[in-house]
Symmetry: C2
Subunit: 333 residues, 2 copies
DNA sequence: CGGCGGTAGTAAAACGTTCTATTAGCGGAG
DNA sequence: CTCCGCTAATAGAACGTTTTACTACCGCCG
């Protein structure tokens, strides 16, 4: 347990601790000869800077927090990959928090992030309570919303138009001839689920149908397992001609259950997912879906956050809204 | 940017900073009346403890590092979910590092983790260089290997028997009547890929075949896209009767490419994956695979790590080796 | 009534950095 | 030869906690 400090390095190189600090942080400020001496001492002693001490004194860390709703969902995994890539390029560490849809857990995670004095937080909020995020801001922690429109003007946000997505999805189903549509969704407290439903209704209205006819099946989570359960509910009554699912995991579950029940897709029921995760194209019946620029979402959000942190005076807050893209496959032929 | 410190709380509650610290860390040591007063002050001022200061003084943090090879792979995502669950239950934060198979990136990540003075590190090493991990240990950072056997006795490790897995997979293919087998793998520098190949050869030997006949196609990454490319190489020559893939992502890619090339699975070629990710069961032709206790891998590794950190004197190092389980589906009917 | 043991709380020193003055050294302009 | 300006390096305070040693107080026993 050899804890080598900056002092040891200084002694070994015959300089003062301040000089070592300068070598570490502003190498330009120190004469080449001494710099080399210090660098030699550093590698010789195996010194590694104590991040906490540095954070304490400097007042800020090189760490950001990422809070997502479900790390098991490939959508968020891909977002996380984008975040991690940018962060790592710029020398930031990422602390991962998985809220699993529970606001309590999200709160706990945000508390941990506050204690770590992260530079900023990327979050896909699971509820609609901006107060907690405002509290972070009051503590000087920048917040960028991911896959969620901004709560307020002086804040960055990167989102995808979910109303448009829901509308395009259901419009596509209706164009294929379906007259009755079911919407299999996660908890309607989740904004994405709610807005995709609004879009779905708008599409029905535009097609001259009664939006009230949209049959909504609400699952408690957005997983394949939950999709299977939801499908059971569908097959219990008269089958709709089309099913729109709030994400691909639900859709894959619904697909599996329908096929097992002897329902043909798309002949008996047309099926649409959302997110266009990699596996949508590879499933039993390849799945039509709404593609979102997932990896880009993570990258851009992180770039905005780090710009806000590193250049607070020149930073301009941005609200970015992507448009989702329809990908038609077998499940809606 | 109201930075409330323990001193402010102390002043507000009319006590000394030391007492506030006691309320935070050993509430039993302080009289109920004062404790309440302090707690009131804490919530009134919105105080949140400065983790770095605490880490600096106490000498250790409540943070662990997790370094995986590919966060985009559902296998690792599920491991991460297990890790996150246990860590969060015990009040630890998790710093995520994605090595993307590059030892350089892994090194960078480990350096970041060292700087953060994490309590311990969970790692699926991408190479076979134990030296870097030993360096961590010298700095007092515990290391637990995940999905990898132990490098040394005084270390915990949680692994799955990859040789046995490879053997079982290929034995299954041979039992279904295949005589020629191809192995589509990621880089053979990855231990898992190598050992599964050894298992595959052992199975051929046991069946009276020449292990040298195993046709090995080495992809540069272990993704579906890489699988598609590898399949192109397969379809170029005479088709093998069976293909064993080092993981399910490769297998899904191979499957997609084979079907597109008009090759029937399993009639023309039997196909096996590895990991049994959720999507294996849902794919076009449902995929036979080797199931591993993935979530448990993450959970148990984290429990071992935190036990090692929190009870260093009573902790007994463990090498846990799980056995994978064959799951037969359509692709090997 | 003096001393003893226990509890509740305090003061002050650490932890390893960064940062702000400050000094030392030196070349060149006046 | 003095003074200015500049670079290179230093000393020492500060960041917000935790911890150790200490004091103050109270009740109780002898």
């Amino acid at each position: 347990m050899a804890m080598v400090s900056i002092k040891d390095v200084a002694a070994h190189a015959g300089v003062s601790p301040g000089t070592v600090s300068n070598v570490l942080n502003r190498p330009g400020k120190v004469a080449p000869a001494t710099r080399e001496r210090v660098e030699a001492a550093i590698s010789e002693l195996g010194f590694v800077r104590h991040g906490s001490a540095s954070t304490l004194r400097a007042g800020h860390s090189r760490t950001i927090g990422l809070s997502v709703i479900d790390i098991g969902n490939p959508f968020f995994t891909e977002v996380a990959a984008g975040v991690e890539d940018v962060a790592s390029e710029l020398g930031y560490a990422v602390i991962l928090g998985n809220s699993a849809g529970s606001p309590d857990k999200e709160d706990r995670n945000l508390r941990v992030l506050s204690e770590h004095r992260v530079r900023g937080v990327l979050i896909t909020p699971s509820g609609e309570d901006p107060a907690r995020l405002d509290r972070l801001r009051e503590h000087g922690i920048s917040v960028v919303l991911v896959d969620h429109p901004a709560h307020r003007p002086d804040q960055c946000a990167v989102a995808v138009d979910d109303v448009a997505g829901g509308r395009a999805a259901v419009a596509h189903l209706l164009a294929k001839g379906a007259r009755s549509v079911a919407y299999v969704t996660g908890p309607l407290t989740i904004r994405q689920c709610m807005e995709r439903r609004e879009g779905a209704k708008a599409a029905m209205l535009a097609a001259g149908l009664d939006p009230g006819e949209l049959r909504v099946v609400e699952a408690t989570t957005m997983t394949a397992r939950a999709g299977e359960k939801a499908a059971a509910e569908l097959t219990a009554g008269p089958l709709p001609e089309a099913v729109f699912c709030a994400n691909d995991l639900l859709a894959l579950g619904v697909l599996r259950a329908l096929l097992r029940a002897g329902v043909r897709v798309p002949e008996d029921v047309a099926l649409m997912g959302y997110d266009d995760i990699d596996f949508a194209a590879a499933s039993t019946v390849s799945l039509s879906s709404m593609r979102q620029p997932t990896y880009q979402l993570g990258r851009i959000a992180t770039e905005l956050l780090l710009d806000e942190c590193d250049n607070p005076e020149t930073h301009a807050h941005q609200h970015i809204m992507f448009q989702p893209e329809l990908v038609a496959r077998e499940s809606t032929q």
